[in-house]
């Protein structure tokens, strides 16, 4: 809000705001910094009293161990599972959203049912899903997790994309119809490009959701497709708390998200807010 900005005070106000901004940002980033630092510390430094704010030297042995022991496969698993599932969810969800938005398929009821799927707490369904997965032998398979995350993300994608699609001027589609495209082509050649920013934002979020999921992965993985959050918990335990590994793995597991978010930054804020405003 632009209230009370007088020339004399302008620079002072700006300075105060900068100070505020820096303090807030430091405050919020400090834990992340701490995590980073731990990942570079040796055991002696981690267990040093009082805590050290800067490691004696940057050394990568905590990471090296993860690579050597193949723990990073968990990151690969996460990439596969989160990547494929959000890809599928985006495509199927957007198509569904198109139909809901433009044709009103199923009316408000269908839309409400879909969004209500999103509101069900995972803990309430993880158990039945586990039982069903057991029945169909989907436990501990890529397919199982991908299917699950796809389903988990679909309501979100549909809801978000419905919002974006509604905003695409109908006339663009009509114009394309008159210009000689059929419906299918209209969807691919007009609607998809039009909602690209929305798609970007939505895919970041679906990816992040799938990436960060712990509960489902905890329950539905055994040996083959351990994902990153589950791997992380392997370092907590009764007999051992491998802070070095925890920190290094956390950093590795945060990097892909960080990259995704940075690249998509400009779509992101809009994505978040639109989802909320339209939700």
């Amino acid at each position: 809000m632009r209230i009370g900005r007088l020339p004399a005070r302008k620079t002072r106000i700006l300075a105060v705001r900068y100070l505020g901004a820096c303090v807030v940002t430091l405050l919020f980033l400090f834990p992340v910094y701490w995590l980073f630092m731990i990942s570079f510390k040796t055991a002696d430094e981690i267990y040093h009293v009082p805590p050290l704010w800067i490691p004696g030297q940057i050394q990568f042995s905590n990471y090296y161990v993860l690579f050597k022991d193949g723990d990073v496969l968990a990151i690969l698993n996460s990439l596969i599972v989160a990547g494929v599932s959000s890809g599928i969810a985006i495509v199927l969800g957007t198509l569904c959203a198109y139909s809901l938005a433009r044709v009103g398929t199923g009316g408000e009821n269908l839309a409400m049912w879909i969004i209500s799927q999103r509101m069900i707490p995972p803990i309430a369904v993880v158990f039945p899903i586990f039982l069903i997965y057991v029945y169909f032998g989907l436990v501990d398979s890529y397919f199982g997790l991908i299917l699950l995350y796809t389903a988990f993300n679909l309501p979100y994608v549909i809801w978000m994309m419905r919002g974006y699609i509604v905003d695409v001027p109908l006339e663009l589609e009509e114009s394309a119809l008159v210009d000689g495209l059929n419906r299918w082509e209209v969807i691919w050649k007009v609607v998809f490009p039009m909602v690209r920013p929305g798609l970007m934002a939505t895919s970041v979020f679906t990816f992040v959701f799938a990436w960060n999921d712990f509960l489902f992965a905890l329950v539905l993985t055994r040996t083959e497709v351990i994902t990153f959050p589950v791997m992380l918990t392997h370092y907590f335990g009764g007999q051992s708390n491998f802070w070095a590994k925890i920190a290094a793995m956390s950093v590795l597991g945060t990097l892909p998200i960080f990259v995704a978010v940075s690249v998509m930054q400009r779509y992101l804020v809009r994505g978040i807010s639109l989802g909320a405003v339209k939700g």
Partner: protein, 456 residues
């Protein structure tokens, strides 16, 4: 037998060359054994690949049970905590092993396993469901340099009228602890314990029984933990925190270890690996980099815990999953692992948490020479094992354990001990009721009759 069990297993297993077996192992340090040592060696010997599935302890039961329920057979061999054995066996998740033991001539070598483990952690309902594979027992570690310091000795004697030495009972423990803390804190505190789950629960079990407590009324199967004895133990445990380093309530295995290795605590009670690491055994190992270097090598003494009947505390069995598709190969692998020959190597791996559990381990000349005090260490373990108290093991033991764990964590949080105990008793009763009072009573009777269950 002329051929040892390890060789037998290897010979028999060769026909499975090329297959892969998976074995559930506790995540973290424990897994380094099969990952770095036994797994690769087994593959070299037999051509069978070993896949190690690392699972954190508190998820192990869940995962094993899940896998069994799902019938997926993702796991072939298992590490099983002995107190779960009744549940897993009853559910049918474990393969009975007797027929394999006979087929592959393993009975003799089983006799070499220390009695505490062999008699208590191997069978359920008369059948073998797993091979005890870890000589878990609690030891008291203390700083010889402090206990032997003449000045300290004199002052202590003057104050309390007896020699400064490893405590014989908990009163002594408290006095010594308080004394050292008063003298040396914050550089050194009298003692430090691993205060988060699962350890304090075992300590409670031990002390409760040593003070004369009984878990249940054997006639009614009503929980009896909330009597005078329970209250006394709880109050003592809380009081002891006062002379331990601040924040001890939060300590886990590693925190406690780190503190002891750094010389911050003068006494602690824990599993055998502390002794090895404190002595600096294996300190050059890459795999031990996660532990601070020992500052107390050569200064550590080993003793029985106060009152002399230490808790056997957890332990591990090697078992075969009932849903495995490679049962025989899995069996052969665990026989080989557990055999005299292989296990002796394994308990000497500097980085593992597997502790000596065979008579032959205790007697091994090689082991006894690993570091200056190694012989004393092995002797203390052996004695501790012989005198060890068994962990409570009932149907759905997991639930009783959870109740105890939660109770103790509430205790640290400063809740009224009596209230905690009452609640715990209530929970015990509820669990018992759910399991079926009569069923449980029968199981409890069998357990309570074992020599290691209650001190005579």
């Amino acid at each position: 037998a002329d051929k040892d069990a390890a060789d037998t297993a290897v010979e028999a297993a060769k026909k499975y060359a090329g297959t892969t077996i998976s074995i559930v192992w506790e995540a973290g340090l424990q897994s380094l054994d099969p990952l770095n040592y036994s797994g690769p060696q087994w593959e070299k010997l037999t051509g069978i690949k070993v896949k190690v599935v690392e699972v954190p302890t508190d998820q192990m039961f869940t995962k094993i049970m899940q896998d069994f329920k799902s019938g997926a057979g993702a796991y072939d061999a298992l590490n099983v905590i002995p107190s779960w054995m009744p549940d897993l066996a009853r559910a049918g998740a474990l393969e009975p092993l007797d027929k394999y033991v006979d087929k592959f001539g393993y009975r003799d070598e089983l006799q070499d396993i220390a009695a505490a483990y062999r008699d208590n952690q191997m069978q359920y309902d008369g059948k073998i469901y797993g091979f005890p594979d870890d000589g878990d027992v609690m030891l008291l570690y203390y700083r010889k340099d402090i206990f032997d310091d003449p000045k300290m000795k004199d002052e202590f004697k003057a104050k309390f009228g007896y020699e400064l030495a490893p405590p014989k009972d908990w009163k002594q423990f408290d006095e010594i602890g308080q004394f050292i803390t008063d003298k040396m804190a914050p550089k050194v505190y009298g003692a430090g314990f691993f205060r988060t789950a699962p350890y304090p629960q075992y300590m409670f079990q031990e002390r409760f029984r040593m003070e004369g407590g009984k878990f249940f009324n054997a006639d009614t199967m009503k929980a009896a933990v909330n009597g005078e004895v329970g209250l006394k133990v709880f109050k003592q445990m809380v009081a002891e925190n006062k002379f331990m380093p601040p924040g001890v309530e939060q300590w886990n295995f590693v925190d406690n270890l780190a503190a002891f290795l750094q010389g911050t605590t003068a006494m602690t009670i824990s599993w055998p690996p502390y002794g090895r690491w404190a002595a600096g055994y294996g300190s050059g190992e890459q795999a031990l980099k996660w532990v601070p270097k020992s500052q107390v090598a050569g200064k550590v003494g080993y003793a029985l815990t106060p009152l002399g009947r230490p808790e056997l505390g957890v332990g591990f069995d090697l078992s075969v999953s009932a849903t495995s598709k490679n049962k025989e190969a899995a069996y052969l692998f665990i026989q080989w692992l557990n055999s005299k020959k292989t296990s002796l190597e394994r308990v000497q791996l500097p980085y593992t948490l597997r502790d000596p559990f065979r008579l032959s381990h205790y007697a091994s000349e090689k082991y006894r020479a690993l570091w200056p005090d190694a012989a004393a260490y092995l002797d203390t373990i052996k004695t501790s094992g012989e005198k060890g108290l068994l962990d409570l093991s009932l149907l759905q033991q997991d639930k009783y354990d959870e109740a105890m764990t939660k109770a103790i964590s509430s205790l640290w949080a400063g809740e009224d001990p009596k209230a905690i105990l009452d609640r715990m008793a209530q929970q015990f009763d509820a669990i018992t009721e759910k399991v079926g009072v009569e069923n449980q009573k029968a199981v409890y009777k069998v357990w309570a009759a074992k020599p290691g269950a209650y001190p005579q």
